[in-house]
């Protein structure tokens, strides 16, 4: 069975983002871009399922500007078999991404779709759930463990109070949480090999999907800065301050 992973190109998690002076967004020019960390976990999980003989082919899809090819190459260097790029310069919001992925999935017919639970740029946490809805498939969000047997999956999910396990028949959409696995680094030979792996390029128009944004960003601002306070010299002084000055204990 085929697995499809979706990988988003985002500002690298180590970059301290700066809001643009004109308040239209955050500075992304000359900023290091990387694969969304939760999508790396998705790629890793698909590769492990292939190594376990459950998945036969791993397809990495990315959507957006031409440079998303680099993000796909990263997935290919980790070990994915081939890539699909849906190229557009239009700002893609989760609903549009879900519609585009649905169109790709109808063509590729994977039985399992794994994607990150959240992108660290817009922090939306929507795409996987939306995609499952549009396909009419089961969804297992925030996965920390995936077990697949005879076309059925049992997924353990990270929920607020602890863990929850759900079971369903494939095909399905799974979104990854932190503890699902630890993604591998791509080795140099694999990075070289990845350059020869195929990437199909298509567009929203070719897929017949309207990607017009539904949310208009009116402005982007920096949050109020928190002022640092004082250093205290001892535990007793700390407790005094908390009691008498801050009055929180």
């Amino acid at each position: 069975m085929k697995a499809l992973v979706a990988v988003k190109r985002v500002v690298d998690y180590n970059v301290k983002v700066r809001v643009k002076a004109d308040k239209t967004g955050v500075e992304t020019a000359n900023v290091k871009m990387s694969m969304n960390p939760f999508d790396e976990i998705a790629v890793e999980e698909a590769l492990r399922l292939r190594e376990a003989g459950i998945v036969t082919e791993v397809i990495a899809a990315s959507l957006g500007v031409q440079q998303c090819q680099e993000t796909i190459r990263t997935a290919l260097a980790m070990g994915a078999d081939r890539g699909v790029l849906v190229q557009t310069d239009v700002e893609l919001q989760p609903l549009a991404v879900a519609k585009l992925l649905k169109a790709v999935i109808e063509k590729e017919q994977p039985d399992l779709v794994i994607i990150g639970k959240q992108a660290i740029d817009d922090d939306c946490n929507q795409t996987g759930q939306m995609l499952a809805a549009l396909l009419g498939w089961p969804q297992a969000t925030f996965a920390s463990k995936i077990v697949i047997n005879d076309g059925r999956a049992e997924v353990t999910r990270e929920v607020d109070g602890g863990l929850e396990t759900v079971a369903f028949k494939l095909p399905a959409v799974v979104t990854t949480d932190l503890r699902l696995n630890e993604p591998r680094y791509a080795s140099l030979p694999n990075i070289m090999k990845a350059k020869k792996k195929p990437i199909d390029v298509t567009t929203p128009e070719q897929l017949g999907v309207d990607v017009t944004p539904r949310l208009v960003t009116l402005k982007v601002e920096e949050p109020a800065k928190r002022q640092g306070g004082v250093k205290v010299g001892s535990v007793a002084e700390l407790v005094n301050k908390l009691k008498d000055e801050a009055r929180v204990i």
Binding site: D122, M130, T141, E164, V248
Partner: protein, 318 residues
């Protein structure tokens, strides 16, 4: 048209985040000149509907009682919400794992974009939401006919749990979708308060060095009536389970007092706690970024400081 709040509960009691969501809904209803209804869906959950009917600002409670709605299975809940949404201008749920799992599924079926994790209501169609781990705040306007929204609980004060006496109306169940089944839950059992509603939180980071050492934190937590949290580094290192995690990808908290112990202060951790009223940092590295946002900093060895703190608090309680 009214605003609908999706209540989160365990069939016995409302989760506190429902009250914060109610406040956001009331602000929207005020801007739109309408009122707020609450949906309680679950199994044998009438007591929850009765509690919801008392929440200040509730004009009506819809009760959908059916086995299909047990355990919050999104595949079963989504058709119910899609059906009900036709009669509402906005549908809101808390941005908890329950709301985050459910609402995008509803939004996609309605062909609308969700507005995730709002932290302020500007107008009935315009909201503020944090992006980039809270390092920027985006003001967004929705052009969709129905607004599907999740609410950041810490950004809105809880509505009063009593004060109203709203009528309870039965909502027709839509049945099970037959797509997914609940197998089991392994919920952390703790006598301590829940992280997202605790008045005081004490969190440990990589500096704790092991999961066993968290008992040092727990002793202090018990003196303070605090919940225990952790940084992503501590969760990654396997010291504690993921449901302890405070941060961009974990829980967002804003208690009266947040004590960060052995936590350096990575951006993604600060994103989850920087709105706390008072922040205390205990760290041996005086250059740690956490000190830049802490109201009170104590530089030193946490393995010495925590027992001292425990003793000091104990002395004062006598």
């Amino acid at each position: 048209m009214s605003v609908l709040v999706v209540a989160e509960h365990d069939n016995r009691a409302l989760k506190p985040a429902t009250l914060n969501t109610m406040t956001a809904a009331a602000e929207i209803a005020k801007a739109a000149g309408s009122d707020v209804h609450i949906l309680v869906a679950g199994k044998d959950c009438r007591p929850v509907a009765e509690a919801a009917a008392q929440i200040a600002g509730a004009a009506k409670v819809l009760l959908a009682d059916d086995t299909a709605y047990d355990h919050g299975i999104a595949e079963n809940w989504a058709p119910l919400l899609v059906k009900l949404a036709a009669g509402y201008s906005h549908v809101l749920a808390p941005a908890t794992t329950f709301g985050k799992n459910l609402m995008p599924r509803v939004a996609a079926l309605l062909d609308v974009m969700q507005i995730s994790d709002i932290s302020a209501v500007e107008l009935a169609d315009t909201f503020v939401r944090p992006i980039y781990a809270g390092n920027a705040l985006a003001t967004v306007q929705s052009k969709d006919p129905i607004k599907i929204i999740t609410v950041r609980g810490t950004a809105f004060a809880p509505a009063a749990a009593t004060g109203a006496n709203a009528p309870i109306e039965a909502a027709e169940a839509t049945g099970a979708a037959g797509l997914s089944e609940f197998v089991r839950a392994e919920l952390s059992k703790s006598e301590r308060p829940e992280l997202t509603s605790a008045r005081v939180i004490i969190s440990g980071g990589r500096g704790m060095q092991s999961g066993d050492n968290f008992h040092l934190l727990e002793k202090v937590a018990d003196k303070l009536g605090a919940a225990v949290g952790a940084s992503r580094a501590a969760v990654d290192a396997g010291f504690v389970p993921n449901d302890y995690q405070v941060g961009q990808t974990g829980k967002i908290v804003a208690p009266e007092l947040y004590v960060a112990v052995g936590i350096s202060g990575a951006i993604q951790h600060l994103a989850g706690m920087k709105d706390s009223k008072v922040i205390v940092a205990i760290n041996k590295d005086e250059e740690a970024p956490i000190f830049q946002i802490a109201d009170y900093g104590l530089v030193g060895d946490l393995f010495k400081i925590l027992p001292e703190l425990d003793e000091e608090l104990g002395k004062r309680q006598k």
